[in-house]
Symmetry: D2
Subunit: 289 residues, 4 copies
């Protein structure tokens, strides 16, 4: 995102590994006038799968979105059995933020948006509590509160989905949203919901990871940003990082130190998605650099 990328397109694709894919794709793009500015590929030799990300300047490129689809299918995708996505980078993605009571990730994301560090739109903030409404208002953003009980969950989530769709949301960020999201919402945004979990998954999945980390006596704590799937805290990991702790750190200190990690790891995960660097395959991510 950001100015320099505004007139570029990014192709993400994968297919069974076979000699000649890179040559075929680069010849196809060059033939249509693309000036490639980034190409990264990866072969998973154990799985026999080829992955590629290519980014090129649209200036001088001879195909529009519809034209690209038709031409790429017949020239490449059919032959190589490729699965692909094309992104025109000019349009900023539209993100919805889901929060509960803790504000550190919310402030961090809002400041990246408001300062222009990220070229992104945030049409709305959704919460299950009123607590952070003042923060949304301070940044001039609509705040929608949907209180959730076991009885109302299905209905409230249906209203949330409707709201997300009305607002043309591309990406949902669970910024320390303390509710398990149900399959209906997940399936409405497949591989487009990013969560931050406050541990180095798979250690300490579930509730109260800092308490569990303290009880186990670990010497490092971590945070993990991942795409949300129906298996709790088990979706494809985008980014992780850790920080060192000692016996001196109480649970309260773990929470304090961990919050700085959470902000950073969530922001890096979202950034990778915004940059179209991520590709999910069998519950793992390729994160092109």
């Amino acid at each position: 995102m950001g100015g320099p990328n505004a007139q570029t397109a990014t192709l993400l694709m994968h297919c069974p590994d076979r000699p000649g894919v890179v040559a075929a794709v680069t010849r196809f793009l060059a033939g249509h006038g693309a000036n490639i500015i980034d190409l990264d590929q990866h072969v998973d030799r154990a799985e026999g799968v080829f992955f590629m990300r290519v980014k090129w300047e649209l200036d001088g490129f001879g195909l529009d979105t519809a034209g690209f689809g038709a031409a790429f299918e017949s020239a490449i995708a059919d032959d190589f059995q490729a699965t692909w996505q094309l992104h025109h980078d000019a349009r900023p993605l539209r993100m919805a933020l889901f929060v509960s009571k803790m504000s550190h990730c919310l402030y961090d994301l809002l400041s990246r948006w408001q300062s222009g560090e990220w070229r992104v739109e945030i049409p709305l903030i959704i919460s299950n509590h009123e607590t952070l409404r003042p923060v949304a208002e301070q940044f001039g953003l609509p705040f929608h509160c949907f209180a959730i009980t076991p009885e109302t969950k299905a209905e409230q989530e249906a209203r949330e989905i409707a709201l997300l769709e009305e607002n043309g949301i591309d990406l949902v960020i669970l910024a320390r949203y303390m509710q398990i999201v149900s399959p209906q919402l997940i399936n409405a945004f497949p591989q487009r919901i990013i969560n931050i979990h406050h541990s180095f998954l798979p250690a300490f999945a579930g509730a109260k990871p800092y308490h569990a980390a303290h009880a186990r006596g670990v010497k490092i704590i971590g945070a993990t940003s991942h795409y949300v799937t129906e298996d709790l805290d088990a979706g494809p990991i985008i980014e992780q990082d850790v920080t060192r702790i000692t016996h001196r750190d109480s649970v309260g200190e773990l929470v304090r130190k961990g919050q700085d990690l959470e902000k950073l790891v969530l922001a890096r995960g979202v950034w990778a998605h915004l940059q179209r660097q991520t590709l999910v395959y069998r519950n793992r991510t390729i994160v092109f650099s």
Copy 2:
């Protein structure tokens, strides 16, 4: 360990937290002529326990080991209900190394010993395979091979314990020893067996952690050195560290990158023990710095 510490003593103690412990202990030591060169204390407020490590120069100190015990018991330990250990740092610890087929940790430990980086004695190496006998011979060390099958395990371990005791072993290092150690051995060396596990515990306990890490798609891998208890890979953690990986790393690459971590994390854990910096309390370690 090492030259400058040769004429020092280290006291490790813990007791129920109560005002006046530091004052009482430092007054006691000063009264017997100790010049304190390091004092570190920690209060676990959740548990209400006080921990302390004090190190002093023996030159001018008026108590020998037996004298210290009697005097410290009556002046301090009885009153404060303290549990304590005294170590005279002049005597190098005697370590036994347990290995199987992988040599990276063995080479690393032997080079620290042979170069004099660590002031320690290694009277013997024990293995369940013949593979690393040439490395032991190259470094001039006795190598004892005890092949282990389910049927022979109890008997072979009994012979190992006898050998360890004959050699006056203080500390057992499982340097990628690929056998589960039984309670009889653990109980013969309580809090004196250090293992290196090739994951950031508690994630990926048990066998084949690099395969599990690859399958889960984590973005960091780790290693953990810990005291061995009867619960597999669940003993008190001494040290952990991690390294970043990407989707490009095959299981083989994780193994390769992980081995450098294992060497480092095991060495740091052993060093902390040699320096008498570690104190175990309820399955967690205090590691004084």
Copy 3:
């Protein structure tokens, strides 16, 4: 800072190293009813200097500030030639933020304040540009702009100092303030001005460190928070951290990745000061943990 610390006092002291200091101080405090909750000491053996930080609960403590000074001087400080500071932790520190055009550190500090993560007061923000006035207003804080030219610098800084003094400022944070601060301001707030420099000092001191890092081809970049002294970028370092980069990272990417480091390293440095964990001695800091 924060709730649990509100009724505590912290003593920072250093003196020539001599047996018996810890015993004397802890006996003194215990004698006046202090319940010590944290004690950390350090002996710099090369310099022969003893450093200590002690924190205790005021509940039941028998001395007020004036009483402490007199009693501590006669019982301890005179005898041991100690230099000391006493802090009553109940009073939140008052910080002034100096900024220019970049907002990332400002947002980060303001969100820590507004969310209550830090118990601190921010009476005003000072800048040499109008750029960030909207951010100050959004957070409801006074914003004072002092445009600075070589001709006006002395006069403008004098007005800034007056404003800081009127507002009872304890601590000045240069949150990417792109002006060299003159000795008159430094001397008005000795060891009470914290700067963030966007490199791992002493590498790349001065202007444009990211450009210099890119030109040198380093594989890690860093950030440093330090107390400001008259030597540019050469004051006592409080905290540093680094992040890995590759040949793929343009100067623009270094700036983007570095800004996250700057926020974190500045926040950690300020936090250590707020917690009274820092002690400066001969251009180096002791940062008690």
Copy 4:
């Protein structure tokens, strides 16, 4: 290196950036029957230079070394003004180790060689002191001692160069060799001498970096592996890493902690070279991953 790579070739190239390079090279390789197993490219947009590393299986590839050169020149290199190197990975590289008195890097490199972790040959060890001869002998390697004084330096280095050439040395490793290497040796092995410097360059270049780091009061120390050029400690950086220190660490502790970093950073730098992942351009390295 290692088994799986034995029947592969690696091409490293760079040229002025121009559309169509990737397509041309991959078409050329595919046309000669190459099965590409790794392709990584990078465009330095500021310099306008294109860099690429391609690795393919030799099984089924129709060109031998001489044939490749002629064909690649006429089909690609002439047209794109490319600078290139081709490496057949079957042949293990031959490394000479230069050491002085410190053994930690030497042990580490020798254990990687002897254990088979690295598929490499070490025909000899060269030193300016006799100190480490026993280590060489223990590993069964020739050890040549060339005492160096200002008067004998030119002559002794000439003998060293002759010895290196007689032994068909591909790569020289300065494993804490405490002598400045003169231009005649550097020019005999351009971009084929790797040094480990015990600081995070460019900070603390030159002698006694741990003393300088301690005096400056930094909170992290580092190590840097780099290609040696005529400018002392200023050659292209291959790898760097850091470790956190505190005020408690004496110069001796920095040395101890730093040695572990040095081993790791040197090994990673050498590994990258062995894997043909490094390409030097204008005093910076591209390290393909």
